[in-house]
């Protein structure tokens, strides 16, 4: 008796889902983006508006930059929002993406323990990294081919240093949040984007030690995966999304995002400007 009751309940629950998936064709749009973009909360604020306006359902797949660009190169996504202009350029040149538009920027920070044993405070980004390597403190790298990781590696290149293999250089292989937590626990230094740092500050024992300057700029572009190369992409949806992101109204919202929660904007809108 109880068995059949439970079975019926289970079946009912499962069948109610079967009904759900048989809903009328809502146009699905696969947006490949990065974990830091998703974690900033910006998409949670913007996407519902886009979906309401256009009727598309956006499937946000937040993975590392490397993976999102690889997805674009395979035609596995429809539109990409990313922040690694150097790697994105390769895709543009190869014709894998079209309609490449500048959206916004924010910046990276070098954070570290409040007592700053490596004496990084006030130094430029490149000098700061040199100082960390010269000392005993650890530096935690994302080590995951993300936009942040690639920015970090370009800074090491500018500093003319090869950090990998050194005993105070650790690679977390994880997202920004996890990497910040690791740095906080180990009293180490790391490179982070401002957005993730601000939203996690309460849990961390890390302070901003180096900021500003062109080398720490974090620039976001949106692009469509080329429908001529990959015939299965949702080209209309992707185009609508690109247009939405660079529209004046959306750009205004991007500029205001974060003010309420953090007292400062997380992003600076840039559509239409030249890099």
């Amino acid at each position: 008796m109880i068995v059949s009751l439970i079975f019926a309940l289970a079946l009912g629950l499962i069948l109610s889902w079967a009904g759900e998936t048989a809903e009328p064709a809502m146009k699905d749009l696969i947006l490949a983006t990065t974990t830091s973009t998703q974690d900033s909360g910006l998409l949670d604020a913007l996407l519902p508006l886009f979906e309401k306006e256009t009727g598309y359902r956006v499937k946000t797949i937040a993975v590392g930059t490397g993976q999102s660009l690889a997805m674009a190169a395979k035609g596995a996504a429809d539109v990409v929002l990313c922040h690694d202009p150097e790697s994105e350029k390769n895709l543009v040149d190869a014709g894998a993406v079209i309609n490449y538009q500048l959206v916004m920027h924010n910046d990276y920070l070098i954070v570290g323990p409040p007592d700053d044993p490596a004496g990084v405070k006030g130094k430029s980004s490149v000098e700061a990294l040199k100082a960390v390597m010269a000392g005993e403190s650890f530096f935690i790298s994302r080590g995951d081919d993300s936009g942040t990781n690639k920015k970090e590696l370009s800074l090491w290149k500018q500093a003319d240093l090869i950090p990998s293999g050194r005993k105070n250089y650790l690679e977390s292989g994880q997202g920004m949040g996890a990497t910040l937590q690791m740095a906080s626990e180990k009293r180490a230094y790391t490179l982070t984007d401002r957005g993730t740092y601000l939203s996690q500050k309460g849990h961390l024992k890390l302070e901003v030690l180096s900021e500003g300057g062109k080398s720490l700029l974090n620039i976001y572009h949106v692009m469509q995966v080329n429908p001529e190369k990959f015939d299965r992409v949702n080209a209309k949806g992707a185009k609508a999304f690109v247009e939405f992101l660079i529209a004046t109204q959306t750009q205004k919202m991007i500029g205001e995002f974060g003010r309420g929660k953090f007292g400062q904007s997380l992003f600076s809108p840039d559509a239409g400007k030249s890099m």
């Binding site: 289970a10 629950l13 499962i14 699905d28 974690d39 949040g177 990959f230």
Partner: protein, 231 residues
């Protein structure tokens, strides 16, 4: 310790206020893992029984494969299913990537060997004399099958519990093939990982508590059935 206490408070608050998003995530967790377990059970119990009872060429190898499958790393299954369902993959035309259906497929692949292998063991441990007795009393093939499953029901219920436990706690494959899309493929495990990554520990703890409670409740019911059947 404070985080865990805050986590409990947050879990309580989410449940009592019937938070829409969390309820949706919990319901989806039950649906996806429930469907996978159901399919694995419908396929696995007969499969395990057939392998237990019959001698055929390659049986030993097949049993090896089933046992190997019980320990199959979920993230590997996730990668394989992702490659299969990705747009230009062999089954890309089905448009199943980043859907709950894809998650059910992956989870079923993970649970099926567990249910099959444990059923196999349960049937094999039914007293052989009892088997002879059934046949001797004139049981048809079908009756023989069903009677054996009944005799092995303790082990088989354990197989179901193990299969369910494996998939409801799974995160690697679900994340890869589901994509953790808000309101669509987000389940308790993938949501927890995401909240940890965001540094929202209290919420992550709350979601973990909900997951554990859900797991505990469902498994309790199954255990009760199992132990009742002992008489």
């Amino acid at each position: 310790m404070g985080v865990i206490a805050d986590g409990f408070k947050e879990a309580f608050r989410l449940l009592v206020t019937l938070n829409d998003e969390v309820l949706g995530i919990t319901l989806r967790t039950i649906q996806v893992s429930g469907a996978s377990t159901l399919i694995s059970v419908l396929l696995g119990i007969p499969a395990g029984t057939v392998v237990a009872l019959n001698r055929f060429f390659g049986r030993g190898f097949l049993i090896n494969l089933i046992n190997f499958g019980m320990g199959l790393a979920p993230v590997v299954v996730g990668l394989a299913v992702w490659l299969c369902f990705s747009r230009y993959g062999p089954m890309g035309m089905l448009d199943l990537l980043y859907t709950p259906t894809a998650m059910v497929v992956a989870q079923t692949i993970i649970a099926f060997p567990v249910v099959t292998g444990l059923t196999l063991a349960a049937i094999q441990s039914v007293n052989p004399k009892m088997r002879l007795q059934m046949l001797g009393l004139g049981a048809t093939r079908g009756q023989y099958f069903l009677l054996l499953i009944w005799e092995g029901r303790l082990g088989i219920l354990a197989a179901i519990i193990a299969g369910f436990g494996r998939v409801i706690s799974e995160v690697g494959a679900s994340m890869m093939v589901g994509g953790n899309v808000r309101g669509y493929t987000r389940v308790l495990t993938t949501a927890t990982v995401m909240e940890i990554g965001k540094g929202r520990f209290e919420l992550a703890t709350a979601l973990s508590i909900l997951l554990l409670l859900l797991n505990f409740f469902i498994v309790s019911v199954m255990s009760h059935l199992q132990q009742r059947g002992k008489n």
